[in-house]
């Protein structure tokens, strides 16, 4: 209840802000139909489709994670991803797009002139061939999935109220600035760092934030002693499938057009995902004696994470190597290092996204080539060391931002509300405690409605009394 009251305050403020902004609506429309002629329909079709593909990744992530938790937490886990889709989309159209892609202010943040998408209208994207709104939609999905990735780290123990507040703040104060630095013309872009579809901005940022939070939050009760097995692996595979599927939009869509660059990103994504899957399965086959489907599902994600920053800069064969290495490195992070260091990153947000993203950012510095993307740069193996330096600096910046930012926000939220559920609630499971729902209703385990029309209840009672009268005599 206490949490709820705090929630109410937070939300009231938010809602007010929202309403205020809505008065500015008519101003939001400043279309310039003259320019519309330059839109390329093929590019637009591909970017819109890619936005839809990236959209499905976040609920997909919910299933990927949801299958891995114990059945008593399946809804909580899926809900975290699903609710983020909603909450951050609203944040994005109102605030996030402006902060990220508004006119750059000192390389640090976008001007707020585009708040509420003011002035976007039916415009064409600057230096682009697509409507700006298509870009808004595409980028919205990126802003959505990034915080969702973090949820794997603190699964099975965070309160929903604290979760929503934390994620909202994280999106505003960590994601939006970082995305601006790399993609919105900020200082990392000026430095020459390359990040095709979000190795730094998305995977390192979310993975490292996840690690920070899971350490601050502490281990799940019984971690290391009680077994915590995935309750529904087909669900996890479904999630991995939707993620892989959507990732084509993520990576190939980042070409912002339907061209050879998009095709290159598509092929490199597929080959990196595939080779990482093979690598992960083989390494665990050798190491543990069994090739597992959870390994295959984890492997493809590791490969996709690693290729993300590189997809539009490297050729297909290097992408095979990037994938193979990603499979081995992430497996080691998850199966060996985590056990050694003994933090409870429940679903390996750091092991897969943090580590995989770091490897991908480095790999971009190694194999990037202007033959693939003239707008890119040549990596170490193509004769230049400038890029790898820029990549390493950016990695450090991303780590620093993620650790410090998440730490501060976590402490801030903790000051106002309870962040972690009580032990008894953790034992009962968060689905019942936090959401009042169960994932799977056993036909046997029923219940009687306690709310409903008064007549219903009366009838039910009466029905029984008549029957039971003679008995109770």
């Amino acid at each position: 209840m206490k949490g709820w009251i705090n929630m109410k305050k937070t939300w009231s403020i938010l809602c007010l802000t929202l309403l205020c902004m809505l008065f500015a609506i008519p101003a939001a429309l400043a279309a310039d139909p003259a320019e519309a002629a330059k839109i390329d329909t093929g590019d637009t079709a591909w970017v819109l489709m890619s936005a839809a593909l990236v959209f499905i990744m976040t609920p997909g992530l919910g299933f990927f994670y949801g299958g891995m938790v114990r059945s008593k937490n399946v809804l909580t886990t899926i809900m975290q991803s699903f609710f983020i889709v909603a909450m951050i989309s609203v944040e994005w159209v109102i605030l996030g797009y402006a902060m990220t892609f508004g006119t750059d202010i000192n390389g640090f943040i976008g001007s707020l002139a585009k708040v509420g998408l003011t002035g976007v209208g039916m415009n064409i994207l600057d230096n682009g061939t697509i409507p700006e709104l298509a870009f808004v939609a595409f980028q919205c999905m990126f802003a959505v999935i990034t915080p969702a990735l973090i949820t794997g780290a603190f699964a099975e123990r965070m309160r929903f109220a604290a979760f929503t507040v934390f994620i909202l703040l994280w999106a505003i104060f960590i994601y939006n600035p970082m995305a601006h630095w790399v993609w919105g013309g900020g200082f990392l872009a000026q430095l020459g760092a390359l990040d095709f579809a979000g190795g730094l901005v998305i995977h390192i940022l979310s993975g490292v934030s996840g690690l920070t939070i899971c350490i601050l939050l502490g281990k799940r009760h019984g971690y290391g002693k009680l077994p915590m097995l995935p309750h529904h692996l087909p669900m996890t595979v479904l999630g991995a499938t939707l993620l892989w599927f959507g990732w084509f939009g993520f990576n190939a869509g980042s070409a912002l057009g339907a061209n050879a660059l998009a095709a290159n990103a598509f092929v490199t994504s597929q080959s990196a995902a595939a080779s990482a899957t093979v690598a992960w399965v083989l390494i665990e086959w050798i190491h543990n004696g069994k090739p597992t489907i959870l390994g295959a599902a984890s492997g493809c994600i590791a490969g996709l994470v690693a290729i993300t920053p590189a997809a539009g800069f490297v050729a297909p064969m290097p992408s095979v190597i990037i994938g193979l290495v990603a499979g081995v490195v992430c497996y080691t992070a998850v199966a060996v290092v985590k056990a050694k260091l003994s933090y409870d990153d429940s679903l390996d947000a750091f092991g897969v996204h943090g580590i995989g993203g770091t490897w991908g950012a480095i790999a971009t510095g190694l194999w990037a080539t202007k033959e693939v993307n003239p707008a890119g740069a040549d990596g170490l193996f193509y004769g230049s060391s400038d890029l790898i330096v820029a990549q390493l600096i950016s990695i450090v910046v991303a780590y620093a931002l993620a650790i410090i930012g998440s730490f501060v926000l976590f402490k801030l939220v903790s000051a106002f509300m309870q962040v972690r559920v009580d032990e008894s609630e953790e034992v009962s499971g968060l689905d019942i405690v936090e959401h009042g729902e169960r994932g799977y209703a056993q036909s046997i385990m029923t219940g009687s409605p306690v709310i409903g029309s008064a007549e219903d209840a009366a009838m039910a009672m009466q029905a029984f009394s008549i029957d039971s009268d003679p008995v109770s005599k």
């Binding site: 046997i444 029923t446 009687s448 029984f464 029957d467 008995v471 109770s472």
Partner: protein, 119 residues
């Protein structure tokens, strides 16, 4: 020590809710329910998969285990019959067993008090 009896009731799943309420009504303090599959006079049903028919003769049911001492066994049996009897095959069975002892883990109390209402 007063005689303690376990009453096993095997019946149709859709009667569970009603039976549970009837039991509470006559003062039964607790019960343990499990999902079972029954096979008896009641005919099963046919399922079809890719043109092949299968005869399923294990039917889903519920088993209630009720241990009583104070509440008279006859009352439980009568009440159960009242609620469950439809007259159609498959209404189920009631079996009675002797319980040697009962313990309430929370308090460590043994015997009839382990299952009686705590005042």
């Amino acid at each position: 020590m007063r005689k303690i009896t376990k009453i096993d009731i095997v019946t149709r799943p859709n009667k569970l809710e009603e039976l549970k309420e009837a039991m509470n009504h006559i003062g039964v303090q607790g019960m343990t329910v499990s999902q079972v599959y029954g096979c008896g006079l009641q005919k099963g049903h046919t399922e079809v998969y890719r043109g092949r028919e299968y005869n399923i003769n294990l039917l889903p049911g519920v088993k209630l285990e009720i241990v009583v001492c104070e509440v008279p066994v006859e009352l439980v049996v009568e009440t159960a019959q009242k609620v469950l009897k439809t007259g159609k095959v498959g209404d189920g069975k009631i079996f009675l067993y002797n319980v040697e002892n009962a313990v309430r883990i929370r308090t460590g109390v043994e015997g009839s008090e382990a299952i009686m209402d705590e005042k």
